[in-house]
């Protein structure tokens, strides 16, 4: 993903500190270059403090990030420093070469000579491949130069040398996103978030946005919409964001840059309408969706999307929209499943049962379909039949809380109280993990 060319020329090489937060929010908040620079700035600031403290107090590889003088002091006084542990062929000559290289590399980096900085950091790392900070600087520079595969490799070195490295994991995830390795990107971004990469609000926006793009590319559209909802509530506005939301909403596993121009207006309009709901602009959202329904009466997934977005605030209307989707697209397993799910959440399992059954018939591999059918069976008096569907869910998603909760209920109804108790304890554990995970995000 790249940001529009006009922003590319105006913001591309500006240091983040030169860009006001409002400019970022409105125009270029998704810039990966800005993100890299921001992360780098934070890293340098943090490392600087750490290094100075550590130079006075104890050993650290971080000392080498500051300057040749600090490096010399660090090497002289703290022989266990990672920098000193590097396998140098000629210790005296090489340490001088190394110090000079990182000094020159830092200077090149500071004056914006990215290619020279990359070259010098690469040479320094040939002399001392156990220098973690060098890999970080090299990785961020390569990322900024669109060298995503080398950047990924550099960050991998850094992550191995300085775990858990939340920001580096997230940045590696962004590299993987750029080279189309969406599953790995998503995994790295999520691990990065778990290790604090998104604790800073501006980083959080960029990371969350790419996480949502990854989810969309992997076909996990509803999860993507969840992430986009967080971003929409934060007030993000730009055409690319609307396209991204529209793509997830229409269940199209594409990136905004891959949208066929012929479809762009429709997808962007759907995205805008969705963003209005996400922000709680109910009247505007309803008007926008009604206009879309009038203009595109046979368009699949629109009623489904509208229903999905209404689910938390107006579940009754959500069911109506899922049913309307089925008029346009009778084979939509996900619309059947969501209609059933919404009814089940309201405790109406009898009404939910036919839709749940049909969802499984249309698409047996749909996890949600198996879940709603399993639950409907359990709740309408056939817990034994429900077990197989719930187990099917857990085969593909072993941590699915809803499936475990329903399984506990089924086992309880069958009188298997000890098994039910184990399931309940497992549910509480999964729920607790959810709480602690949310607390870190």
């Amino acid at each position: 993903m790249d940001f529009p060319s006009i922003l590319h020329t105006t913001l591309k090489d500006k240091h983040l500190s030169e860009v006001s937060p409002s400019t970022l929010r409105i125009r270029g908040q998704m810039s990966r270059r800005l993100f890299a620079m921001h992360m780098d700035k934070q890293f340098t600031a943090r490392r600087g403090k750490v290094s100075r403290r550590i130079i006075l107090a104890g050993p650290s590889h971080a000392a080498t990030a500051i300057s040749g003088i600090w490096l010399t002091i660090a090497i002289a006084f703290f022989p266990s420093s990672a920098a000193c542990q590097a396998p140098l062929l000629n210790p005296v000559a090489s340490s001088q070469d190394f110090a000079a290289l990182i000094s020159n590399a830092g200077a090149a980096r500071d004056r914006g000579d990215r290619s020279l900085a990359i070259q010098l950091y690469s040479q320094a790392l040939e002399l001392n491949p156990a220098w973690p900070d060098g890999w970080w600087f090299l990785g961020t520079l390569q990322y900024g130069a669109d060298q995503y595969e080398p950047a990924r490799n550099s960050l991998t070195h850094y992550i191995e040398l300085a775990p858990p490295a939340g920001p580096a994991l997230a940045l590696r995830g962004l590299c993987e996103f750029e080279i189309g390795r969406f599953a790995e990107s998503l995994q790295d971004i999520e691990q990065g978030i778990n290790h604090g990469a998104a604790n800073q609000p501006r980083n959080a926006e960029i990371i969350l946005y790419h996480q949502a793009l990854d989810l969309t590319s992997l076909g996990r559209f509803e999860e993507a919409i969840g992430k986009y909802t967080v971003l929409a509530k934060q007030g993000i506005v730009n055409p690319e964001f609307a396209l991204a939301v529209g793509l997830a909403g229409m269940h199209m596993p594409l990136l905004p840059r891959d949208v066929n121009p012929a479809n762009a207006e429709l997808i962007a309009s759907i995205g805008q309408a969705s963003i209005a709901i996400m922000r709680g602009e109910t009247t505007a959202a309803h008007d926008a969706f009604q206009s879309l329904f009038t203009r595109y009466p046979r368009q699949q997934n629109m009623h489904y999307l509208f229903g999905y977005l209404l689910l938390s605030s107006d579940p009754d209307s959500a069911v109506v929209e899922f049913k309307r989707e089925l008029l346009v697209n009778p084979q939509s397993a996900v619309a059947h499943a969501m209609a059933a799910w919404t009814l089940e959440i309201q405790g109406d399992f009898v009404t939910a049962l036919p839709d749940a059954k049909q969802a499984v018939a249309e698409e047996p591999s749909l996890t949600l379909g198996q879940l709603v059918y399993g639950r409907a069976l359990v709740e309408t008096g056939d817990p034994r039949a429900g077990l197989s569907h719930l187990e099917s869910v857990l085969q593909s998603d072993s941590g699915n809380l809803e499936a475990h909760m329903t399984l506990a209920k089924a086992l309880s109804k069958l009188g298997r109280s000890e098994d039910a108790r184990k399931e309940r304890l497992l549910c509480l554990s999964i729920s607790d993990q959810g709480v602690s995970l949310r607390a870190t995000q």
Binding site: S412, K413, G415, S417, L428, S431, V435, R438
Partner: protein
């Protein structure tokens, strides 16, 4: 279908009104045929879960209630059956009538301002015999007088509130206060009672019989009562933790070691009669505990590989609940509630989540 149900309710109400004028009144209300249950149910707390102006004994007994939080002073003044909820910052005052009071003893008030329902920021608590911050609203820090009145309630939330505190409050999935009957009455639980009564009114040849709730399994009963008292799933799904979740009895009960969804001895109605006043005498529950935890019960129980044999208490054979179902104070200290997570309680142990 929903419309016909609504018509049925209106017809029932009209028939109930006109029946007193008939020489031989037809059995058009639940009370006509089910007098014992209908009369005793009126003594239950559930029957008084929603109170209207003029019939609110709590407010009638406390004609002047006051409370202060930060810069805001609250008062509820009750005269001639009408209550006025006021909040002032010293310069301006907003006063609204108390339209609905949720709760039989502890009460939270539902107000209406410009068509928007509000949950009062202060509630009445018998434990302190006065007002305190509404449970769950402790973190609200009002910045304006309007915010100080109470928390805006969405339509969906209002529907949920009234659907539990009243009968016939929801028609066609929407809140409808025109046919609402305050409190939990017969038809709220016996959901097929409408068709049953309509058939009687119409002198139909076949009268459908409402489902008997005592035939529900323990698991289903727990979920049925949990519609309002919160199910185990609801509590887990919502990540509710800490002593405040002691309010959710079905959730706590299902966490008990002795809970078995297929054993009627641990069902909600094994201990509680929904048609009667709640029993506060701890010892009166002993037979319920001893139905499992006694030598006779253990001896009579079939061998089972799916459920452990219940243990027999080595300490006492009476007042079981006083030890095994301790009272837990809500974090705000305004209510003490019985913990339905039945367990062996160890001294100084933290509240088990």
């Amino acid at each position: 279908m929903q419309l016909s149900r609504k018509l049925a309710v209106i017809l029932m109400l009209l028939a109930g009104l006109s029946s007193s004028a008939q020489p031989k009144p037809k059995p058009v209300t639940c009370t006509s045929c089910h007098q014992a249950q209908a009369f005793s149910q009126t003594t239950s707390q559930m029957a008084h879960a929603l109170q209207l102006p003029g019939s609110n004994e709590v407010l009638a007994a406390h004609p002047k209630l006051t409370f202060r939080k930060g810069n805001y002073s609250y008062s509820i003044d009750t005269h001639d059956g009408k209550s006025l909820y006021s909040v002032t910052d010293g310069t301006k005052t907003i006063s609204l009538p108390v339209d609905w009071a949720m709760g039989a003893q502890a009460q939270t008030f539902v107000l209406e301002q410009n068509g928007q329902m509000l949950e009062s920021l202060v509630s009445f608590y018998p434990l302190i015999n006065g007002l305190g911050i509404t449970t769950g609203d402790e973190r609200i820090d009002p910045k304006t007088l309007d915010e100080a009145i109470g928390r805006p309630v969405s339509k969906e939330e209002a529907k949920t509130c009234f659907n539990c505190h009243a009968t016939h409050a929801v028609f066609d999935h929407a809140l409808d206060l025109t046919t609402m009957k305050p409190g939990v009455t017969c038809e709220r639980c016996h959901t097929d009672a409408d068709a049953h009564l309509m058939a009687i009114l119409a002198d139909a040849k076949t009268i459908p019989t409402p489902a008997k709730l005592d035939q529900l399994s323990t698991e289903d009963m727990s979920n049925f009562c949990g519609q309002c008292h919160r199910t185990w799933e609801t509590a887990v799904r919502s990540h509710w933790r800490g002593p405040a979740d002691v309010r959710f009895q079905p959730y706590r009960l299902a966490n008990s070691r002795c809970y078995n969804g297929a054993d009627a001895r641990i069902s909600c109605i094994a201990c509680h009669d929904p048609h009667g006043k709640i029993t506060r005498d701890t010892a009166s529950y002993d037979p319920k505990c001893l139905a499992c935890h006694s030598l006779a019960a253990v001896t009579a129980a079939p061998d089972s590989t799916t459920a452990p044999h219940p243990k027999i208490c080595p300490v006492a054979k009476s007042n079981c609940a006083s030890c095994h179902m301790p009272k837990v104070a809500l974090p705000n200290g305004l209510m003490n509630l019985t913990d339905h997570q039945i367990r062996v309680v160890h001294p100084n142990e933290p509240y088990p989540d």
